[in-house]
C-alpha cells in the first residue's frame, strides 16, 4: 500500500475550503472547458469523488459526446410503430411481439478489454449485455456474437481468438443461455483492435416492463449481487487522487474485471422473481461505469434526488476509498429502487438464492445526488448534470482523400481464373479461406440448446427461438457487418450490412421488425473517421426508414485504432424478426432429392470488396455492390409468404463468397448432392463469385416450381432455375464445367479454424 490511510477524505467541505487545489482533470481525460463547466455546475471545485464521477460520465463511452449529434437521426427517421415499447436511451429497446409478449434485445461492444485479457474481456462483455436485458424486466433467452480478429495466421490471433471464444462460451454456457449464431471474420485491420460485439435477447410479459427511475421519496436504494472490488478501476480513482497522495506508485495499474456467471445466473433468477412479485419500483444494471453510472442515471431519471451512504457497500478489497467504490467495475451487480415496506422481502428473497443484497441509500426530494462516506459528504451534485447534460461535440468530418483513388481501383479488373479447372480450384480455395470456412470449431464451444427453445442456431442464416410453446410464436435474429464494404463506401456499406441482416431474418420465414446496432470505428478526433461515422449512421437511419423498422438502441465504440491506423469502419447490425409459428421456419439445406434449386435476385458483375478479391488478390478497392431496399422488402414478404407452405423446402442467403459458397454450405449441411446448370450465356466465374446483394438460393419441392415462379413474377422478383438436388450426385456437379465431390468440399471447408490456429 502506498496510500496513507490517514489522509483525510476529500469532502465537499474541504473542496469549499480549498478552491485552488490543483486537480488532475487532464489526466482523467477531461478538457479544460469541461473542467470549468463542472466548477460552474457545482459553484466550487469538485471533490475527488465528484471529479472521478464527472470524468466517467462525461467520457466518450458514457456520454456519447461525439456521436450524439449524428445518432439523433435514428430518432428523427425511425418509422412510427406501435410495436416499439421502449427505444433509444433505455438499457435496451423493447418491441411488442403480440398483445402479451414483448422482446428486448441489444448489441454491445467489449473490444478493448477483449484485447487486453481475451477470456475475461469477452466474458464480461456477455455478462454486461445480459444485465441490460434483465434491467428491462426480461428473462434473457439467448446470446449471439459478432467477432473480428486480425489475420488468422498472426501469432497474436492464436492468443486472442481462443481466449475470446472461451470467455463467451464459459460465461454463456454457465449462465445458461443458448448461443444461437453470429459471425466471425478475419482481417489484418483488426490485428491490434479485435471486435467483440455481443448481443442478448430477452422475453417478458408486456406488463413486466421495468423503469430505471429512482422515484418516490423515501424509497430504498438496494445494491444487489457481487461485492465491490478494485475491478477495472481504469486508473480513474487513483489518478483522481494523485495530487493528494505524494506517492504515485503501487496499485495504480488498472485491474481487469473478472466475471462470475454463476452469480449472474442468480441475479437473473432473483431479479425476475422480484419483478414478478411487484417488489421493484426502479432498476438499473451496473455496467462499465459502475455505481457512478447507476446512481446518476436512476437519480436523473427520477423526479427527486438520492442519498447514499457509501460505507454500506459490501467490499471485497481492503482500503477502498469513496472514489474507488464509485468507479469500480466489479461485475454482476444491479441497483434496485424499492418501497420501504417491501425492502425486507426483497432482502429475504435474495438471501434465499444466496445473493447479497444491501440497502445503501434512499430516494430524496432534494433534487441532489448526495453520497456520504462514514458521515462525511463526498458528493453533492445535480444528477442530471452527470447523466444527461454532459458535453456534446459537433466534431469536424471530411471525406478521406484516398476515397476517389480507391473507387477507381476496381476488383472487376483483376485477373480471374480462366479454365474450368482454375474455377474449380477457386471454389475449394474460397471454401477453405478463413472467412468462409466452417466455424464449428467456435460454435461447438457454445451451448445452443439450453431452454429447449432453439429452433435454428449456427450455422443458419439467423437464429430462431420459440417464445411460447402453446402458440409457437417465436423470433429470429441475425447479426451482420461487412467492414470491407463500409471502407469502400460507409453509407452503402452500412446499408449492405442492414440489408443482409434483414434478409437473413427473412430467409428463416420471419418478418423483420426492429434493429439494434453496434458501431465500431476509429478515433472520432480524426475527421476522416468522423466522416465514415456520419455516413454510416445516415445510411442505417435512411435504410431503416425505408424498410419501416426502427433502430431501438445499440452502442458506439470509438478509438478502435493503433497509432494512426483505424480499423475499417464496421457497423454491425442486428435485425430482429417475428414468426407467428416457429414450426413454419425455413431451414438450410437442400430439401429432398429431385427438388428444384433456384436463385431469386439478380447477379451482376460485382466483385469489389468481395471475399474473392481479398483471398486471391489481397485487394480492397472499387465500389461495393448496389443496395436495393425495395427489392429486399419484396423478397422478405415473399419468403414470409412461402414459409411453412409446401412450396419451399429450404433457403439460404447469398453473401460473402457468392453463389459458390452458398452451394458449398447447403451441400455440406444436407446429405444430398446438387446438379447445377448455369443460365445460358452466364460467365461461370462471375456467376459463382459475384457478391451482388438481394439474392437467395431457394429449394422448391417438385411440382411447385410454377407456383413459386408466379409468386416471384407477381412481385417483380427475378427467379432463375439452377438445377436439382440429387441423392445420387456426390457433391456438386456443375454441368459442362466440373465436379466437386462431397469429400473434396468437406476437406476444404471443414476443420480449418483449429488447424490454422495451430491445433
Amino acid at each position: 500500500m502506498t496510500r496513507d490511510l490517514n489522509v483525510a477524505v476529500d469532502t465537499v467541505g474541504v473542496a469549499d475550503a480549498t478552491p485552488d487545489e490543483k486537480q488532475p482533470w487532464a489526466e482523467l481525460g477531461l478538457k479544460e472547458d469541461e473542467y470549468q463547466r463542472i466548477r460552474e455546475v457545482l459553484g466550487r471545485r469538485p471533490t475527488q469523488s465528484e471529479l472521478a464521477m464527472y470524468s466517467i460520465m462525461w467520457s466518450e463511452h458514457c456520454s456519447y459526446k461525439s456521436s450524439k449529434v449524428h445518432l439523433r437521426q435514428f430518432g428523427e427517421k425511425n418509422p412510427r410503430t406501435p410495436r416499439l415499447l421502449a427505444g433509444i436511451g433505455e438499457n435496451a429497446g423493447v418491441v411488442a411481439i403480440d398483445d402479451h409478449i414483448a422482446v428486448t434485445f441489444k448489441v454491445e461492444s467489449h473490444n478493448h478489454p477483449s484485447y487486453v485479457e481475451p477470456k475475461q474481456g469477452a466474458a464480461t462483455g456477455v455478462g454486461g449485455i445480459i444485465r441490460d436485458i434483465i434491467a428491462m424486466g426480461a428473462r434473457p433467452i439467448a446470446v449471439m456474437d459478432s467477432l473480428r480478429f486480425g489475420a488468422i495466421d498472426h501469432p497474436d490471433t492464436a492468443r486472442v481468438l481462443p481466449g475470446v471464444v472461451d470467455g463467451i462460451g464459459h460465461y454463456g454456457n454457465c449462465v445458461g443461455l443458448p448461443n444461437i449464431g453470429g459471425e466471425t471474420y478475419f482481417d489484418p485491420c483488426y490485428q491490434g483492435n479485435p471486435l467483440v460485439n455481443a448481443l442478448s435477447v430477452g422475453v417478458m410479459p408486456r406488463s413486466r416492463l421495468q423503469s430505471m427511475q429512482a422515484s418516490g421519496t423515501g424509497n430504498i436504494v438496494i445494491l444487489l449481487g457481487a461485492k465491490t472490488g478494485r475491478d477495472g478501476i481504469g486508473g480513474v480513482s487513483v489518478l483522481a487522487s494523485a495530487t493528494f497522495s505524494e506517492s504515485g506508485e503501487g496499485d495504480a495499474r488498472p485491474s481487469v474485471q473478472v466475471g462470475d456467471p454463476f452469480t449472474e445466473k442468480l441475479l437473473i433468477e432473483v431479479c425476475l422473481e422480484l419483478f414478478d412479485a411487484g417488489l421493484v419500483v426502479g432498476v438499473q444494471d451496473l455496467g462499465g461505469a459502475g455505481l457512478t453510472c447507476a446512481l446518476s442515471e436512476t437519480a436523473a431519471a427520477g423526479d427527486g434526488g438520492m442519498h447514499v451512504d457509501l460505507e454500506l457497500v459490501p467490499l471485497r478489497a481492503e482500503g477502498m476509498e469513496p472514489q474507488d467504490i464509485l468507479a469500480s467495475e466489479s461485475q454482476e451487480r444491479m441497483l434496485l429502487i424499492v418501497d420501504p415496506a417491501k425492502a425486507e422481502e426483497v432482502l429475504a428473497r435474495s438471501r434465499r438464492w444466496g445473493l447479497l443484497a444491501t440497502a445503501i441509500g434512499t430516494v430524496t426530494g432534494t433534487g441532489r445526488l448526495v453520497v456520504d462516506f462514514h458521515g462525511q459528504t463526498v458528493v453533492d451534485v445535480p444528477p442530471k448534470s452527470l447523466a444527461d447534460e454532459g458535453p456534446v461535440y459537433n466534431r469536424p468530418f471530411t471525406e478521406p482523400n484516398d476515397l476517389g483513388l480507391i473507387a477507381v481501383d476496381r476488383a472487376e479488373t483483376l485477373p480471374r481464373p480462366a479454365t474450368d479447372e482454375e474455377i474449380r480450384q477457386t471454389v475449394l480455395d474460397m471454401a477453405a479461406s478463413p472467412n468462409l470456412c466452417d466455424k464449428s470449431w467456435i460454435t461447438e464451444q457454445y451451448d445452443s440448446s439450453v431452454f429447449g427453445n432453439t429452433v435454428l442456431g449456427a450455422p443458419h442464416d439467423a437464429g430462431v427461438i420459440r417464445l411460447d410453446e402453446r402458440t409457437g410464436v417465436g423470433i429470429a435474429i441475425s447479426l451482420d457487418g461487412n467492414g470491407r464494404f463500409a471502407r469502400l463506401d460507409p453509407y452503402h456499406g452500412a446499408q449492405l450490412a442492414l440489408a443482409e441482416a434483414y434478409r437473413n431474418v427473412a430467409v428463416t420465414g420471419a418478418t423483420p421488425i426492429a434493429v439494434s446496432d453496434c458501431l465500431n470505428f476509429g478515433s472520432p478526433e480524426d475527421p476522416h473517421v468522423m466522416w465514415q461515422f456520419e455516413r454510416a449512421v445516415t445510411g442505417i437511419a435512411d435504410g431503416c426508414q425505408k424498410l419501416g423498422i426502427p433502430v431501438t438502441g445499440g452502442n458506439v465504440s470509438f478509438y478502435n485504432q493503433t497509432g494512426r491506423e483505424a480499423i475499417h469502419p464496421t457497423p454491425v447490425i442486428g435485425v430482429l424478426g417475428v414468426i407467428d409459428d416457429v414450426a413454419r421456419r425455413i431451414p438450410l439445406g437442400l430439401g429432398r432429392t429431385g427438388d428444384t434449386i433456384a436463385l431469386i435476385g439478380t447477379t451482376l458483375e460485382e466483385l469489389s470488396g468481395s471475399e474473392w478479391a481479398q483471398v486471391k488478390h489481397g485487394h480492397l478497392g472499387g465500389v461495393p455492390p448496389k443496395v436495393d431496399l425495395d427489392h429486399e422488402m419484396k423478397l422478405a414478404e415473399l419468403l414470409g409468404r412461402l414459409a411453412g407452405t409446401e412450396q419451399l423446402a429450404a433457403a439460404h442467403d447469398l453473401s460473402e463468397g457468392g453463389l459458390a459458397q452458398a452451394l458449398v454450405e447447403a451441400i455440406c449441411h444436407s446429405g444430398l448432392g446438387a446438379q447445377i446448370l448455369l443460365p445460358e450465356g452466364a460467365d461461370p466465374f462471375t456467376y459463382l463469385f459475384s457478391e451482388s446483394s438481394g439474392r437467395v438460393l431457394v429449394v422448391i419441392p417438385r411440382g411447385q416450381e410454377l407456383a413459386v415462379r408466379t409468386a416471384c413474377e407477381q412481385r417483380g422478383l427475378p427467379i432463375t432455375p439452377l438445377g436439382v438436388t440429387d441423392a445420387n450426385t456426390d457433391g456438386l456437379h456443375l454441368r459442362d464445367h466440373f465436379d466437386l465431390t462431397r469429400g473434396d468440399l468437406e476437406a476444404a471447408w471443414k476443420g480449418r479454424i483449429g488447424s490454422r490456429l495451430g491445433e
Partner: protein, 227 residues
Amino acid sequence: MTARIGIVTFPGSLDDRDAARAVHLAGAEPVALWHDDAQIHGVDGVWLPGGFSYGDALRCGAIARFSQVMDTVKAAAGQGMPVIGVCNGFQMLCESHLLPGALVRNAHLRYRNRPARLRVETDRTAWTRLYEPGNEVVFPAKHGEGRYVADEAVLDRLEGEGRVVFRYLDNPNGSMRDIAGVTNEAGNVVGLMPHPEHAVEALTGPSTDGLGIVASVLAHLSEGVRR
C-alpha cells in the same frame, strides 16, 4: 394417477425447465424441488438436471453434494427410488458416491457441444427398460468435463455386471471404454452425460429418443425393474 418426478433446482442449475418439459411431454408430472429443502414432497422419482451448480467450483458437482436435498435423495435412492442425473447431475451422483467413477476434463480440453450417437447397453435399469439393448439413440452432448474415468477393476466390474447403460459411438471426450452412462447395482440410479431432455421434440432436438427415458421410468414405477 400419473407419476410425479421431482426435479431439483440448485443455484446454477440450467436444464431444470427442460427436464420438466421432457417429463411433462412423456406424460408424467414434474415437481419442482429446491436444493435447500430436505423434503422431496412425496415424488416417485428424482431428476438431477444439468447446469453449473455452484459455478462448478472446485469440481463439478462437488458442492451440490452437500446440499440438504441430496441427503434425502441418497436415502431414497438406497430404498430403490429411481434417480437420474444428467450432465452436472451425473457429476453430482459420482461425487456423492451413488455411482462409481468420476467425470473429468474432456481429453481435448474444451467444452464441446455436438449431437452424440449412443448405444443403449442395457434395459435393466429404471430409466431404460423400454429401450432394447443395442438401440441407437441421439442425444446432445455438451460439456467440458464429461470424460468418464474409473480404475480398471471398477470398469471391469461395471462391464461384468451389465452396468454400463450408454456407450458413445463417436467418443466425444475421451471417456474410458466409451462410457456415456452407468447405473448402480440395483439399477434404479442412472447417470449419463448427454442430454435426453434436449431430444424430446423434432422441432428443437436432434431426435425424440429422449422421451423413452421418462416413459421407461413410468413403466418401471408401474411394473418394477426388469431382471
